[in-house]
C-alpha cells in the first residue's frame, strides 16, 4: 500500500506541473490594461508595474504604458535602492516632486527609465501576507488634485493588480496550494495535516521550461481540435526521438 507521505508528495508534484497549463492565460494583458487605464485616468506621462523577484533582491519591470515604456519593460533594479525600492521595503506609498531649483532627486529614476519626471507617485502592490511589487505613476496631469487623494486612488489600481497576480500565482504554485488545502481540510487528523503542511512548503518549483510548455498547451484551448491533435503528435514525436537517442549505446 502506498504511504500517505508518498501519495501526497506525488499529488503535489503533479499539481505543480499541471498548474501552469490551467492558469488563466491573460494576466499579463490584464496588468497591461490596468497600467494603461491608470495612465489615462491620471493624465500621466507613464505608468509602470515592477515585481519583486523570488529572492526579493530585485525589482523587474514587467508592465509599462506611456513614455519610455519600451525601455523600461524588462529592466531590473536592486530592491535596496531608489523610490521603488523604498516602497516595497517600507510598504508605504510615496509622492515626490522635484523642487524647481534642485533636480538631483530624479537621478536614480531617470537613469533607470530614460525619462526625467518632475513628479512620482508610487504605491505598494501587496497581498494580505506578501509584498509583490510597486505601481509607479510619472507626471500626473498638473490640473489634478493633490497627491494625497491620487495616492489613495492609485492604491485601488495596485490592489487590483495584487488580486490578479495572486490568482495567477496560485496556478504556478498549485502543488503547494493543493497541499495547504489538504492540510486545512484534514485538521481533525493531526498526523495527516502535519504531513500535508510540511510537504506544501517543500514542493519543488516546477521546471521553467516545462511550465512554459504547459502554458503553450493551455493556449491551444482556443484553437481547433485538429490543431490540438497536431500539437500532441509533434510533442510525442519529440519525446520518441529523445528516447531513441538516449537508448543508443554510447549516446
Amino acid at each position: 500500500m502506498t504511504s500517505p507521505d508518498a501519495l501526497l508528495a506525488e499529488l503535489g508534484r503533479v499539481a505543480q506541473a499541471i498548474g501552469p497549463a490551467v492558469a488563466p492565460p491573460d494576466t499579463s494583458r490584464l496588468l497591461a490594461a490596468l497600467a494603461d487605464t491608470a495612465r489615462r485616468l491620471f493624465g500621466a506621462a507613464a505608468c509602470s508595474l515592477a515585481l519583486l523577484t523570488d529572492d526579493e533582491s530585485e525589482l523587474v519591470y514587467t508592465t509599462a504604458a506611456g513614455a519610455g515604456a519600451q525601455d523600461v519593460t524588462g529592466m531590473r533594479i536592486p530592491a535596496s535602492q531608489g523610490v521603488a525600492g523604498w516602497v516595497v521595503q517600507s510598504g508605504q506609498p510615496v509622492s515626490i516632486d522635484s523642487p524647481a531649483d534642485d533636480p538631483r532627486f530624479a537621478r536614480d529614476v531617470a537613469e533607470s527609465t530614460g525619462y526625467v519626471p518632475r513628479e512620482i507617485l508610487a504605491v505598494p502592490v501587496a497581498s494580505a501576507t506578501t509584498m509583490l511589487g510597486v505601481l509607479t505613476l510619472l507626471d500626473r496631469d498638473t490640473a489634478r488634485p493633490g497627491a494625497v487623494q491620487d495616492m489613495a486612488l492609485l492604491q485601488v489600481f495596485a490592489d487590483q493588480a495584487a488580486i490578479a497576480l495572486e490568482g495567477s500565482r496560485a496556478f504556478t504554485r498549485m502543488g503547494s496550494v493543493l497541499l495547504t488545502a489538504v492540510a486545512t481540510a484534514a485538521a481533525a487528523d493531526a498526523e495527516l495535516a502535519d504531513i500535508a503542511s510540511s510537504l506544501a512548503v517543500a514542493v519543488p518549483p516546477v521546471d521553467r521550461d516545462l511550465a512554459e510548455l504547459a502554458e503553450v498547451f493551455a493556449l491551444l484551448s482556443r484553437h481547433s481540435a485538429a490543431d490540438r491533435r497536431l500539437a500532441v503528435r509533434l510533442v510525442r514525436e519529440v519525446v520518441a526521438h529523445t528516447e531513441r537517442v538516449a537508448a543508443r549505446p554510447g549516446a
Binding site: 506609498p93 516632486d97 532627486f105
Partner: protein, 246 residues
C-alpha cells in the same frame, strides 16, 4: 500652572535630548542634518537566522531616513541624532530586524521616530511588548500612521504617539484627533525635505509628519526632562490648534 505653547517650547532647542531615527539610515554629510551621534546598521542573516549589527557610519539607502532626520533637526536644532538603519537589501527578516532596531533605539534615546510599521499579524504581540517596554522606560515612541487603511504596528498601540499628515506649514501646526487610534496631525503634505546627494525633494506622507512631532517632543523634553510619555501626550494635546481648553 497653565500648559501653553510658551511653557512647553519657548527657549527650548532639544539640547541634551537623544533622538533615534529607525529608518533607512541617515546621511550625516547632508547640510540640513548635521552631526549624527551614533549609527548602527542592522541586517538579517538568513542562514544563522539572526540579526547582525554593524556599528559605525553608514549611508542612507533611500533618502527617507535623511528626510526624517532633517525634519527633526529643523524643529530641535540642538538635539543629538542617532541613526538605526533597519532596511536592507531584502525584505526577509524585516520584522525581527525592525524589532531589534527598536529595542536598540530605546536604550540610547529618549525619543524614537518610527516612520515605518508592520501590518504582519505575527508581529503584533512582539511590538506590543516593545511599545510597553518603551513606555515604562520613559521613552517616547513617535509613530507615523500607515498611509494605507490597514492595521499597523506599533503605530496603533495606545502607548505610542501616532501621527498623520495635516496641511499645516508652521512649526506648531499640530492637531489632536478626538477619535483615535490616530492621535495627532502635523505638517506632512507638500513639505520640502532633505534627500540623497545633499539634495531636497517636495513630498507628501504621514511619515514626514511623525518626525515633526518627534522634534517637538525633543524640544519639550529639553525644557521639561522629567515628563513621562503620557504627560508628553497630554502636553501635545493641550498645545494643539484645535484643543478644547476649559
Amino acid at each position: 500652572m497653565q500648559i501653553t505653547r510658551d511653557w512647553a517650547f519657548d527657549g527650548a532647542d532639544g539640547q541634551g535630548v537623544d533622538v533615534a531615527v529607525v529608518d533607512s539610515g541617515i546621511d550625516p554629510t547632508h547640510p540640513a542634518v548635521g552631526p549624527v551621534s551614533s549609527a548602527v546598521a542592522l541586517t538579517w542573516d538568513p542562514l544563522a537566522e539572526q540579526v547582525i549589527a554593524a556599528d559605525g557610519p553608514h549611508t542612507d539607502l533611500f533618502g527617507h531616513g535623511t528626510a526624517c532626520a532633517g525634519i527633526i533637526r529643523a524643529v530641535a536644532p540642538q538635539c543629538r541624532l542617532h541613526s538605526v538603519r533597519v532596511l536592507g537589501e531584502r525584505l526577509s527578516g524585516k520584522g525581527p530586524v525592525f524589532a531589534h532596531g527598536l529595542r536598540h533605539a530605546m536604550t540610547i534615546a529618549r525619543v524614537v521616530n518610527l516612520s515605518l510599521s508592520t501590518s504582519r499579524p505575527e508581529y503584533r504581540t512582539l511590538f506590543y511588548e516593545i511599545a510597553d517596554e518603551a513606555a515604562f522606560r520613559g521613552v517616547v515612541l513617535v509613530c507615523a500612521v500607515n498611509n494605507a487603511p490597514a492595521p499597523s504596528y506599533p503605530s496603533q498601540f495606545a502607548s505610542v504617539v501616532s501621527v498623520a499628515a495635516n496641511d499645516g506649514a508652521g512649526p506648531y501646526d499640530l492637531d489632536c484627533n478626538p477619535t483615535p487610534p490616530v492621535e495627532f496631525g502635523a505638517p506632512g503634505i507638500g513639505v520640502t525635505v532633505p534627500w540623497l546627494n545633499g539634495g531636497s525633494i517636495v513630498t507628501t506622507g504621514n511619515s514626514y509628519a511623525a518626525p515633526h512631532v518627534a522634534g517637538l517632543v525633543a524640544r519639550l523634553l529639553s525644557k521639561h526632562p522629567t515628563l513621562t510619555p503620557y504627560e508628553v501626550k497630554t502636553v501635545l494635546r493641550h498645545v494643539s490648534r484645535n484643543a478644547q481648553r476649559g
